[in-house]
Symmetry: C2
Subunit: 370 residues, 2 copies
Amino acid sequence: MSATAVTEVPVRAGGGLRDYAVRVGTGLIDTVGEVARAVAPSARRWVVIADDTVGALYGDRVCASFGGADAPLLTFPAGEHNKTRARWEALTDAMVARGLGRDSGVVALGGGVTGDLAGFVAATYLRGVPVVQVPTSIVAMVDSAVGGKTGVDTPAGKNLVGAFHPPAAVIVDPTVIRTLPRRQRAEGLAEAVKHGAIADADYGRGIAHRAEALLSGEVEAIRRMVLRSIEVKASVVSRDERESGLREILNFGHTLGHALEAASGFGLTHGEAVAIGMVLEAQLGELVGHTRQGSAERLVEILQAVELPVRRPPELDPEVVEGFLGADKKVRAGQWRMVFLAELGRVHDAGGRWAHAVERGPVRTVLESS
Amino acid sequence: MSATAVTEVPVRAGGGLRDYAVRVGTGLIDTVGEVARAVAPSARRWVVIADDTVGALYGDRVCASFGGADAPLLTFPAGEHNKTRARWEALTDAMVARGLGRDSGVVALGGGVTGDLAGFVAATYLRGVPVVQVPTSIVAMVDSAVGGKTGVDTPAGKNLVGAFHPPAAVIVDPTVIRTLPRRQRAEGLAEAVKHGAIADADYGRGIAHRAEALLSGEVEAIRRMVLRSIEVKASVVSRDERESGLREILNFGHTLGHALEAASGFGLTHGEAVAIGMVLEAQLGELVGHTRQGSAERLVEILQAVELPVRRPPELDPEVVEGFLGADKKVRAGQWRMVFLAELGRVHDAGGRWAHAVERGPVRTVLESS
Ligand SMILES: NC(=O)c1ccc[n+]([C@@H]2O[C@H](COP(=O)([O-])OP(=O)(O)OC[C@H]3O[C@@H](n4cnc5c(N)ncnc54)[C@H](O)[C@@H]3O)[C@@H](O)[C@H]2O)c1
Ligand SMILES: NC(=O)c1ccc[n+]([C@@H]2O[C@H](COP(=O)([O-])OP(=O)(O)OC[C@H]3O[C@@H](n4cnc5c(N)ncnc54)[C@H](O)[C@@H]3O)[C@@H](O)[C@H]2O)c1
Ligand SMILES: [Zn+2]
Ligand SMILES: [Zn+2]
């Protein structure tokens, strides 16, 4: 399949690092080699890293896009439990064994696990070689492939080790979403709804209207959705590469979301936990007066349309959830901080400060009433 | 001991990263806590990482310099064979186990092994926390602590994994060299002679004149020497943070040096191999006409004064050494490249290009005649 109607979204990497573009278009998976060579001409030899599921589905096409040059596929077993230092080590060693020098580059082909893991391999290989992100899940397209965060988990927690390593390019081909399971699609839509909630109410509502097309992976619906989400994320990231300021707004729903995810022993997926977290944080915002009344209810409608949960599962005790709140690494000096909506489509901004301190009382109220 | 006569050398980190200063002065080891807090105020909790030798000698004083605040010492067994991903992992886990968040910082107290290893821990901990480098060997003072390169070895080779992570500050106390064994002092002087060779002939000659004071660790001689070397390295690094251009001149002696080091099965230390490498590369420069006649001989005199070898050990076969030349990661597209002296104190510069292609013929000639 050849590429049609490519849209480019520019991203400022910040911190003196090279800017890059996200290319979105059907059929782009077959252009990876060509684009990679163009954006990182110093890289003469490439490897394609994928998990075994995505590798089996798309590895051949991506390797073939390097036009006969030796661009081997390196795979690892699929799943978050493989986003580890051990896999990072093995992939690094596989590259060393092939004699790859500084003039090499990495294609990260897959979901967020692959993007983070292969991105970290690239970030640390000989102190850094270029990576081209080719996201194949909705989570990866709308979230993890843009922004430059890479890393792996440790037994003690997620993403504890990593590096900022902005990609040389991001290549998004919405056609690959056809092979993604429906539940994974819903999972990724949680972050898309978040983008609507913090930046574009119409976009948020549009996700609900096109829910079935999105959940069933209709290419044109997916293409438009990921494009708009990437625009939102790219615009936030471009204005703040180091998560000191504006970038915090991308954490909407994530403070309570992470606590719920951890409290569930990861029985809730990240997207499910963030969906519930967004509803609770909107309710909390309404309670403390930062958020316009009714915003939480509008979020609930959108999230239910895309088959995501909106209430704390009754088996998750509020006290237990609160315990995990304290463990979050975004807590500074024991103070809980959260981003609030002003209303659907806009965050509450107290003079350029996006994250606000919250008291225990209202958090408990919201957790208990949910 | 209290600090006297502190000299600050500024370093431009480049790439949008924060600039930093190298502080040189006797007694500064007792100011580490104070300086660390001043240069990285976001870090509220610190750990001090050292190998067990240096930890036993200076760990208490550095931890005490944090003035009673909890600044624990984390140690690992001394030696290059511990500059591994496994040690990086264990140190990271020890930090996680102490609940250290983004508001933490790392002091790297030790030789180059500690600087590289602890620097890499800091570079990757929660995607990067500040590191303060406190070099305690001459190698670390004049070379590894400045410039931002961090990393570890893999079974396949040295420094294959790492990150650029410029320190928040470098603190150099020459008094600690008193406890460094004499052979390690000579080792570090190789890089100091290199700085003289590429940038300051008087400095190079001065090292020979003060050889015995330096080899026996006289504090004032050490202080002046490390200060001048740091000025040279800082000036080169400041003008080019990413090793694309000018920074290459710091590789003088290292192309053949690395090959000799590897060919010896690491029987030659790095400093010894670089000493021989500098002589051979100066001879090579004379042979191909880039280097003024007699420069190699002058280098030989300086290196011999500081008890470093200047000739290829006869048991290292020229062909074997050449084989290791090809394996160097600085070789691009199969072409050997080297930095040449114009004369002692100045590198050969062909219009802003510092590394020059070399042919196999003259390399073999020089290896065989040595
Ligand atoms: N770096 C960031 O900024 C960032 C942001 C959000 C999430 N993340 C990370 O992303 C990860 C989650 O991402 P994810 O949900 O994509 O997980 P994932 O990479 O494990 O993908 C989910 C599953 O879908 C499969 N898959 C992916 N694309 C497919 C396709 N086109 N067809 C068929 N199957 C496909 C994968 O093999 C996997 O089994 C987490 O580790 C999270 O920490 C990172
Ligand atoms: N990052 C860079 O730019 C860079 C540059 C040059 C070298 N390096 C690295 O530096 C390492 C070599 O450094 P090194 O020679 O300092 O090795 P090292 O850190 O192993 O120190 C050598 C020995 O001296 C001991 N020691 C250090 N300071 C002491 C003191 N004050 N008193 C008593 N003993 C002391 C150590 O315990 C160790 O046993 C190599 O791994 C090399 O790759 C890095
Ligand atoms: Zn998320
Ligand atoms: Zn060296």
